[in-house]
Symmetry: C3
Subunit: 341 residues, 3 copies
């Protein structure tokens, strides 16, 4: 917990208008609208929680202009309360102590370079030719493989594996269990068995990216797998070799992108969605949860596949009929204009 | 392998009726119906394997009353043979040696508290304010982050990461690669880029929960992500921030639950199924494999989405027609009573 | 980078016919058709890149006989350019130094056996009764649990966990974060709560298998989970207890196979596809991405489920109609011959 903040100082710092509260009031945290007490700031970002205003006990509530009137507590008026919450909440994050230096248990190769201001935790392994830049934090149990780069101010929370030839930009945040730079899945079939296709490329991650727990990003076969700046990946995502993800795109948990697919900028890929290999997705495309993108998408917009959830008995009847759908369409004489799914 | 057990002692211990065998016979293990030898106990839990009774060679077979007559071998009669198998099989588990104490290679912060009867393995890192209670087993390569609690008799097999503010109940079992307490996926869009929304909550796991290999459970944004007692999670599951899963619910491999969703008690979520964010699922709901739940479910029962597996040529024809389904329905004059999926 | 290779030596070594180049030319690497420079070999394996031949700058290009005429650069003619690429590329892999011996930081149980020619990396834990055979490479942070076997020439890149009773064949390659031999998901419902079903079996992995990053393969409940020879698993795959996968089958990222399912030989399972438990899939079956196999497949061929991706507005209309599909079929008098999905 950092030093004390007053309501007035918070309003001033983030350019919010304070309506009806005591600027000198000491604030010691943030909380949900339902839970915030008289020393905490609450938030109304999602209109579905508007009903909770009446019983709220917060020191003040961050609201849009339009919601200030319905707020019986003091208001901090923000154009986007969710963004304001992000800013205010950051004041109350417990900052882990990141003492610069290398933990005595770490194993560091002689040809690795660790900046004086970087922090390398217990049981880390830093291999030949790796470089860890100033202000970077490498938590316990990380493996920084050969010729990898951890850019300045980047933070590997714990147990992150950079296998080989992975270059992280600045301020990259990676959560535990993530594996970057493992071999892509390249196999060639020769007569009656598989042979491995060497994976010789690397992974390049731009500035300000975030990579979730247990997410995997494979190295390229030839050339690199690339995340441009400000790409945000949730947990358990799979990014295959030679994928390129454009700046400011965000992928929700368990999404998967197959080899050599290209995703544009400002895309939103829903949880569990799949993108097949060797296709491209335009900028500003949204794919809803668990949809499968099987061909290139050239226009911005929202895309979906799948069928609605139903009680199983009804679903079974309908699903069985799916097998007759072409037959049904033929009986009705529906044209086959677009037969290829 | 623990001390010897006789057929009679096993019958008595678990309240099973022995029909036709020698109570003094030494039993040295359990096996499948097909594989069990004359010193092992076999089981008939799933009726589809009834045909294997004729050739079985087991010392005795655990069966329902109704199957005893068709069993040419001695019977151990149980109301639920699968439950009886669980109990008898546990006698023959190889118990790993869990010597109390801290492995000399572990790195333990001065403010951490490890009970005298707890076991902490090689290369563990235990951070400030963490607490490991009596009888807990923390296997090699675990990270127990700041202010985490490992409850009494809990067992972290190996390489489990508790990032921060994770509180485990008693007798919790966690398999390797699981990550609890990583930041939830909170990002707010500001003009032309993302800013991170601080994740300030924790994870609370009730008594008797089991969490599979490489499963991830994120900490809450504000408030906690909660698993009530006796929740059972398979491998590679993703539980997002502020999810709540009710007591005695079980989720199969690769299921995913998005932020702030609430799942009731005694639910069964199939493999690869998805639950979108901010919805609630009632008690005693079953969701079949790879279904996507896109809205709240208020009634117990079984729910599904998806289409049946078919040979690709037939599937392609039907899938192409899915795009004309609204057109087909209109031609037939089907009412649009329920248009929103 | 290994010693220098000439164009002529490469042609001879892999039985390729060189047309139009200088056999004495020194080659220092491989690259994509677009990127290869005058000292690198390029490839044309996928016809969609044929247009790049005109501007290619490679020392030589590996092509099929039929593409040699359209190649303005020297040709290396191969029956299967992708296989030839795999072979040639392997010459230019950076070979990590695998010095035999055990890193001084590793913790090795007295009853473990490590061959003199094996390499065990920093912070590895090798438990009682484990065996690591000659020429095996066990990278940093691996846990080789009780009674596990790492076969000769196998390579565990880093941070691989073999929990217990896992036996790897020869030349098995496993990427970071993979967990083999964790307990299968066995729970039995007793009155009002779950009890754990002991998992007593192991995992057997044949020769020449590859297992991707963060993939999980559970030990059998009774008997073993088995991968036959030359099985290839991508990242983030879940293989449940007692599954058997036939030789030469390949599974793409995020696929999942539920308990006791059997997959034949030479199968191809697409990314994110699911196979439910207790069914069998014949040899030479292909399942397309994100399809769910809910019943046994007895014939070779390609199988699919799901619906096509569409713009969300159109998809919503069609998806809503899916709920009326049985009604639609009835109105048309379509027979219900095959009602069970």
């Amino acid at each position: 917990m950092s030093a004390a903040h007053t309501l007035g100082a918070i309003a001033e710092r983030f350019g919010l208008r304070l309506v009806g509260g005591d600027p000198a009031l000491r604030i010691d945290g943030v909380a949900t609208l339902a839970d915030a007490n008289a020393a905490q700031i609450g938030f109304l970002a999602n209109p579905r929680y508007r009903g909770q205003l009446a019983t709220a006990g917060a020191a003040a509530i961050v609201v849009r202009e339009a919601d200030a009137e319905g707020n019986p507590r003091p208001s901090l008026i923000a154009p986007d309360p969710y963004v304001a919450f992000a800013r205010i909440g950051a004041l109350f994050e417990k900052q882990p102590a990141a003492t610069p230096g290398v933990h005595p248990s770490a194993v560091v190769a002689p040809t690795a370079h660790i900046a004086a201001g970087a922090s390398v935790g217990a049981f880390c392994v830093v291999e030949d030719g790796a470089r860890i830049d100033d202000g970077a934090f490498v938590g316990p149990h990380c493996v920084i493989g050969r010729d990898c780069v951890v850019g300045a101010q980047s933070r590997l929370v714990a147990r992150v594996t950079l296998v080989q030839d992975v270059r992280l930009g600045r301020r990259v945040l990676i959560h535990p269990g993530a594996v970057l730079g493992a071999d892509g899945f390249g196999i060639a079939f020769e007569r009656d068995h598989w042979i491995k296709v060497p994976q010789l490329g690397g992974v390049v991650v731009g500035d300000d990216c975030e990579i979730g727990a247990n997410t995997t990003i494979d190295r390229g076969a030839l050339g690199d797998t690339v995340l441009e700046d400000d790409v945000r990946l949730d947990n358990q995502i799979q990014v295959a070799h030679n994928v390129r993800i454009g700046a400011h795109s965000a992928l929700a948990g368990c999404a998967a992108v197959a080899g050599s697919a290209t995703i544009g900028r400002y895309c939103l890929i829903g949880g569990g969605a799949g993108i097949v290999g060797h296709i491209s997705v335009a900028d500003r495309v949204t794919v809803t949860a668990m949809s499968l993108v099987t061909h290139s998408i050239h226009e911005p917009g929202e895309y979906s596949s799948g069928t609605p959830i139903q009680p199983n008995r009804q679903w079974r009847r309908n699903a069985a009929r799916f097998k007759h759908l072409d037959d049904i369409a033929r009986r009705l004489g529906v044209a086959e204009k677009e037969k290829k799914p």
